[in-house]
């Protein structure tokens, strides 16, 4: 269970505070995978970042007794000036691992980017980045109850998609997803429930199809 209490989040703009979320009170289950639906700029990524502890609400709090991953996506997580290997080492260390070699090796094998693994991340293509980012969570043996994914699959090639899909499916019993994607096909594949971000609030639907319907009714004008 992930609990939102009186959560408000705003960004200061030249026109004053722009609220992304206002007084959100909701409990999300952690025994199903959840798709996050909403148009660009409505706060999906902000929501994922707050769930992952990369951003903080201005008011209220998010609490959970489950282990939630960091947000896996294109923006965050990997430091550009460090190599893929150094990033792995860093993540292993902040998670309390004393010996990081095993994790480095696992990511190296999963990412299949060979010599680039020791080059700075800023020289990577976005596909290579997502390979390392995804490989990292994999290397922790999916030690998470909830995996946060923000448009990660969008840049992978067929080979990588196949590999990550197989991996996600094999862990489905223990690890659930909270996922942002603009591909309905991808969401249908992984998620059973959905939330729609709307009117600075979050609405939960136990059935993904209901959520997609709500999303279409609210936001999609060309039917």
């Amino acid at each position: 269970m992930i609990k939102f209490e009186n959560l408000s989040k705003y960004y200061p703009t030249k026109q004053g505070r722009r609220y992304v979320f206002k007084d959100v009170n909701i409990e999300l289950p952690t025994d199903v995978s959840i798709a996050i639906l909403g148009p660009n700029g409505v706060g999906k990524s902000t929501l994922v970042r707050m769930l992952g502890g990369a951003d903080y609400p201005n008011k209220g709090e998010i609490s959970s007794d489950k282990k939630i991953s960091w947000p896996l996506g294109l923006q965050g997580g990997l430091q550009g000036s460090m190599s893929g290997r150094e990033n792995c080492r860093f993540v292993a260390r902040i998670h309390g691992y004393k010996n990081t070699q095993e994790i480095e090796q696992k990511v190296y094998e999963f990412a299949e980017i060979s010599a680039y693994f020791d080059e700075p991340v800023k020289s990577y293509s976005s596909g290579m980045r997502s390979r390392v980012a995804f490989g990292l969570t994999m290397a922790f043996d999916f030690d998470f109850d909830v995996l946060l994914i923000d448009e990660l699959g969008a840049v992978g090639d067929a080979n990588f998609r196949h590999k990550s899909q197989a991996l996600l499916e094999s862990k489905f019993e223990t690890t659930k997803l909270i996922m942002v994607s603009h591909s309905m096909g991808e969401l249908r594949k992984y998620c059973q429930a959905g939330i729609v971000v709307k009117n600075q609030n979050i609405e939960f639907f136990p059935s993904l199809e209901d959520a997609i319907q709500e999303y279409k009714d609210t936001y999609v004008t060309a039917k």
Partner: protein
């Protein structure tokens, strides 16, 4: 494996330390060498100038030793302020992990500056001892205290700077403009007894001047500072650390979305 908050912080600072050491000293092959060469070269150049002017002792202290006792604390203060205040922006990609909070890179860099200061100071003094100078400080505890208070001042100012940088990116330029003249008015190549007493007021507002005066007082038996005040130095350091921590606390959400 459940860790307490403090253990998580320790692991994070350790991870950042490994990363920072590599970028700071490991990026060029001579990285560690420069940490040593920079203050040594600065002191040497000043020492050569003074020797050419025909001085071989200042206030009864050999020129080289006198200068290094001013250059080392000042260099460290300067580095502490600049390195620590850029710590947050240099590591912001890593705040994506919930374990890493914005104060961690600042504490990491503080650790590096502290360690560098003590190691470099000891190496330089050892070399001087080998060259035949009497380098053993008269009161080593007082010398360490003065240095720590000055580094604390740098830490406090850097915390304030980190917060200021959120609102005003050019604050760094202002800092650079202030730090350059500081080199000339902090008593690096002179001390209070060389200045007429009626002009002391031009220098005594400056806590760095106090720190260097007190360092020399502690270092050399032959020098007693007429102006250096522990109270003033401690008060400014503590004030800056307090205000810096308060600003950090107030702005902690903003650091994440920098």
């Amino acid at each position: 494996m459940t860790r307490t908050s403090l253990q998580i912080m320790r692991d994070t600072v350790h991870a950042l330390l490994m990363r920072e050491l590599k970028t700071r000293f490991g990026s060029s092959k001579l990285g560690y060498f420069w940490a040593l060469a920079e203050p040594a070269a600065q002191a040497s150049i000043l020492a050569i100038l003074f020797t050419l002017l025909g001085r071989n002792s200042l206030s009864g202290v050999p020129v080289a030793l006198f200068l290094i006792s001013g250059v080392m604390p000042f260099k460290t203060f300067n580095k502490t302020v600049t390195q620590l205040s850029s710590g947050i922006s240099a590591n912001k990609a890593l705040f994506a992990y919930r374990q890493v909070s914005p104060i961690d890179p600042i504490l990491t860099r503080l650790t590096i500056e502290l360690a560098t200061f003590f190691i470099v100071y000891m190496i330089i003094l050892s070399v001087m001892a080998w060259l035949g100078l009497d380098v053993w400080p008269q009161d080593i505890l007082e010398l360490i205290t003065a240095s720590l208070l000055l580094i604390a001042l740098g830490f406090g100012i850097a915390l304030c700077m980190s917060s200021a940088l959120i609102y005003w990116q050019d604050a760094n330029k202002l800092l650079g403009m202030v730090m350059t003249p500081m080199f000339f008015i902090s008593g690096i190549f002179f001390c209070a007894t060389m200045i007429p007493a009626k002009y002391w007021y031009l220098f005594t507002w400056n806590p760095i001047f106090h720190a260097i005066e007190l360092s020399r007082d502690a270092f050399f038996a032959s020098y007693t500072t007429p102006v250096g005040s522990w109270g003033y130095l401690a008060l400014t350091s503590l004030s800056f650390v307090t205000v810096g921590l308060m600003l950090y606390r107030v702005n902690r959400i903003r650091f994440a979305t920098l």
